[in-house]
Symmetry: C2
């Protein structure tokens, strides 16, 4: 069944459904899907409760803020987001970045600090929204994989280190390793042994849940998926046991710090404070939070969508995440994004539509109303253990080696990101990584690969004279450029050609072989014109060969083709055959025929 | 004479001569060259005297600073520069930028203002020097041709407008058009009629010298070159006549402002003031001055070098210009660079080596010692007229139209540069142009051209299914990517492939045709791995075809080839022939043979 088909360039979609994906899946909703979504929501809710509290703690915010950030933002994403399984809420790296940014403008625990977190959510929500409406999602490309990987590893290390204070029961602060280690070291003698025992026991238990429980459950006869889901619920067990231990053994007497009284309420609806000075100071951190959050979230959403041959729309994802952050800003939360662990659980538990997210939001809201009294006795050391165990999986020791083997320049960007993040903090780390990647990219773009080519004897192929035994002629220079011509390499092109002609007094013709050139911008066009004039001044004719159709169409809109001293050849072979006999302008056909023959070319 | 040759990759040069080009040409110096250089130096000196005074005036500096900036800097460039004909000294655009930068930290006419100009020379000299030593010349590529062209045109307009105050004999200030026009308008009633007459007469004379004198001289029997050189000396005639007019008619009585007493001395040797705060404020302007100066200078030097089939070395040019600016900083000058007009005169007058520059320096030094008393009576309106006539040739009205036709995105960068330079000033203009060009470039790089291809019936060619009638198969998708894969387009690649497979349930094989891919960085490799896994999750096999040698070598250093679910085909045709018969995993050779035959492919 051979088909000569055309694929439609772009599906026409209702523009309303483009911005409100809920209209799309809402119409197809039925009872089966409802059941799947409800089950998934229940499982995710159980997992999210301790996680939300833990990440709020990491962000330096009251525990309930973590719950609030998991209610309305999820609902907003369910309306505007395009992934059917992405679970939005507080995540580790964004919580750390929030702590770093808010900590620069206010002291942890102060009302100003909470206000700063709301402003960060507002500004990053607005940033994401604007980027989505202007279709600026490509800006996230500025974060290369090595930079993101390095940043997340380094953040994991900082986060784990920052939580050791809770395991030790001492105080420490700082968003970079040197300051953190300094304060940890200074207060190490204050450590609380009971807290330490609880912390270490929780960590050991959670590590075992991660590594040992699933094989055990499978050994007991459970199948892969339920074993996986039960193992993911491990932290809930640690939470329940530790609460019971605190209440029964009255551990608060022994100096074990607990979460304390959490207000029993739905998220407070309020607008973030307006303060021009503060907004300005938080603008850059909010931008970084938006972009890092977006990159993380889109990667997760794409991975999960592909498993079901679905697609997400990155520009609409910006709007989805933007609305989630705006929702967080107006309901007492802090910056949120799509989290990896929770999304995978949602997916594995069988969520089919964003409605699963909406049901999760209801679940968390019920928890905020009815479970908070029980959470008051939860030891902070247990939450810290949850975070440490979770983030250590972010620290990726293998990738740096893989990247080192593959590409030294990518490795240098990664290493710089890791070191600067650890030493100077998260913001400097991201910025350094982005700038270094960009500089390396621009440097490479400004010196593309090019080669002087000659004809492989007996063929129509033209190859690099430095790698192959090829035929060249003293009056003819053939150059192949393996890259589009842009303003970044326009000057290089001039230098390259001038270098190649320097000192070659017999030279009469230069051919630029354009088979790999997909575009020529205005700067490069001017350089081509300059090359044409300069060669002409030196008595050399410039020719082009194998110019692609779209490039040729564009060249026709300039005067370059009129000014070009030489010809445009359809193939390099034709150029060679033709120019081989044009040694001097005065050559008679008789003479050229002789030369042609003498050279054994015919 | 067919030669199978290898060109040496790079000439081995004495490393000392690499950094001191003077050792190179100094060794070959002889009497003939000396004569040529002396003649050229004399002509350039005559032209430079009024020009140096005029540009110092434009920069808001005392007239003698212009002379000082034309002495030691030229000598320094003669030692370190690589162009045999580039003439270094004050130029219009750099003078305007100096005025803008120094005007932000001090009032014109104050000693602090002069100090700021010296600091700018020092900082930009150091910047150029460091860029040269680190071989960072490619950073100048960030200025695209349209941005530079737009910037220079806009600067020309600002400069010409700023000089009208001297023609009118009123005061006005500001480095952007709105402020300039505002102050001009406010003071218009103070205009001095005598000054206006001198100014307009000078302008008319200079325009005539430019356009009418050369044809006249040629008509009188002079040949092209001397006619050209005499016409270039026109400003000197205006200077002499106006000085005589002022002295004889005692025009100072009528309110005609003159240059006034210029100290008769060689350049003062002194170190620029150190002030951390001031240096910091001037760092960005100095950087912009360096880069704009470098771009201008290198373009001029390259144009002239190519005419004689010589080469300049851009990294060494950075060192040459850096040393010239450092020399300016330590000898009472201000930022300098290679100027177009004077270099062309130098070239046309027959300069053969940088020694011509050295002789020019001696000429200007003699002028500073002996001619300054005569220059005291030179009307400022005449200098202003010189500047206006010179810079109006910088204003390029044609290029915007040409670029508009050729490329809308290049035009937008140019238009933004022109508008922002005119409205907000030179620094904002350059920065906006660079950022916009970069954003457009990154945007294009992030969405390269790609096409789903099919086989052209009866051939081995594969073409875009949207443009050609080609053969495709429902279980086989072939994608050609026309760009190297980098972190900027890695995410695009994932989206593109996932979009093309979405909804195609019969699909079993995807082939990426890599004929146009010159490199794959670590981010793109990870995206390829992700695509491989996601396709595998969806039951689709990923294949590559026509992978280039160097790309393949690098891929072998990763685990991608081990994980790849499909094969690597040497040609797209082989991929098609092979995969056309692989419809299901379970196909027996018998079955596939049948399908193969049934499809008429064999």
């Amino acid at each position: 069944m051979i088909t000569t088909q055309k694929i439609e360039a772009g599906k026409s979609r209702l523009s309303l459904a483009r911005y409100f994906p809920i209209l799309d899946w809402g119409a197809r909703y039925n009872r089966d899907i409802l059941t799947s979504d409800l089950v998934a929501a229940l499982i995710v809710t159980i997992m999210l409760i301790p996680q939300s509290l833990a990440y709020a703690l990491l962000a330096g915010l009251p525990a309930q803020v973590g719950l609030y950030a998991s209610i309305l933002p999820i609902l907003a994403y369910a309306i505007f987001g395009t992934s059917s399984t992405l679970a939005v809420g507080p995540v580790a790296v964004i919580s750390l970045m929030t702590a770093a940014a808010a900590g620069q403008v206010a002291a942890q625990g102060s009302p100003e600090y909470i206000a700063a977190a709301l402003i960060l959510a507002l500004l990053s929500g607005a940033t994401l929204m604007v980027m989505g409406l202007l279709k600026l999602g490509f800006l996230a490309n500025l974060l290369s994989h090595p930079v993101v990987s390095g940043f997340i590893s380094a953040s994991g290390i900082i986060i784990a280190t920052s939580q050791f204070k809770h395991i030790l029961g001492i105080s420490a602060s700082g968003e970079s390793m040197p300051r953190l280690l300094d304060t940890l070291y200074a207060n190490i003698l204050d450590l609380n042994v009971t807290t330490l025992i609880i912390g270490l026991a929780s960590m050991a238990f959670l590590f075992w849940v991660r590594k040992g429980l699933k094989p055990l459950l499978i050994g007991l006869g459970l199948s892969q998926r339920p074993a996986d889901l039960i193992a993911k619920a491990g932290p809930v067990v640690a939470v329940i046991i530790s609460i019971l231990a605190v209440v029964i053994l009255d551990l608060a007497e022994y100096g074990v710090k607990t979460v304390g009284i959490i207000p029993t309420s739905l998220p407070p609806i309020s607008a973030p404070m307006f303060d021009a000075q503060l907004w300005q100071e938080l603008a850059i951190p909010a931008l970084l939070i938006s972009i890092i959050g977006f990159v993380e979230s889109v990667s997760v959403a794409q991975t999960l969508a592909a498993k079901r041959r679905q697609r997400i729309d990155p520009d609409q994802e910006l709007i989805g995440l933007g609305s989630a952050n705006l929702a967080a800003a107006f309901s007492g939360g802090y910056p949120v994004t799509g989290g990896f662990a929770r999304s995978v659980v949602n997916f594995d538990a069988g969520a089919e539509t964003p409605a699963a997210g909406a049901f999760t939001a209801v679940g968390i809201a019920l928890a905020a109303l009815f479970l908070t009294p029980f959470l008051a006795s939860l030891p902070i050391a247990v939450l810290a253990a949850t975070i440490i165990v979770a983030v250590l999986s972010l620290v990726d020791l293998k990738t740096p080696f893989i990247i080192w083997r593959y590409s030294k320049s990518d490795f240098s960007a990664m290493a710089a990101t890791i070191l600067i993040t650890l030493i100077l903090g998260v913001e400097s780390g991201v910025i350094a990584g982005v700038l270094l990647s960009l500089a390396l990219f621009l440097w490479r773009s400004s010196r593309p690969h090019a080669a002087v080519v000659g004809r492989v004897p007996g063929t129509e192929h033209f190859r690099n004279i430095e790698r192959h035994k090829v035929i060249t002629l003293p009056h003819l220079l053939m150059i192949r450029i393996d890259e589009s011509l842009t303003y970044l390499n326009a000057r290089w092109l001039e230098e390259y050609v001038l270098e190649k002609i320097a000192g070659r007094d017999e030279l009469r013709h230069v051919v630029l072989m354009c088979s790999a050139i997909n575009a020529i911008d205005a700067s490069a066009l001017e350089s081509l014109e300059a090359i044409n004039h300069r060669l002409s001044d030196a008595g050399i004719t410039l020719h082009l060969s194998e110019v692609k159709g779209p490039v040729m169409d564009r060249l026709k809109r300039s005067t370059f083709l009129d000014d070009l001293t030489g010809d445009i050849f359809l193939s390099q072979d034709k150029a060679f055959a033709d120019l081989a006999v044009r040694t001097e302008d005065g050559d008679s056909p008789q003479q050229t025929g002789d030369i042609w023959q003498a050279r054994g070319l015919i």
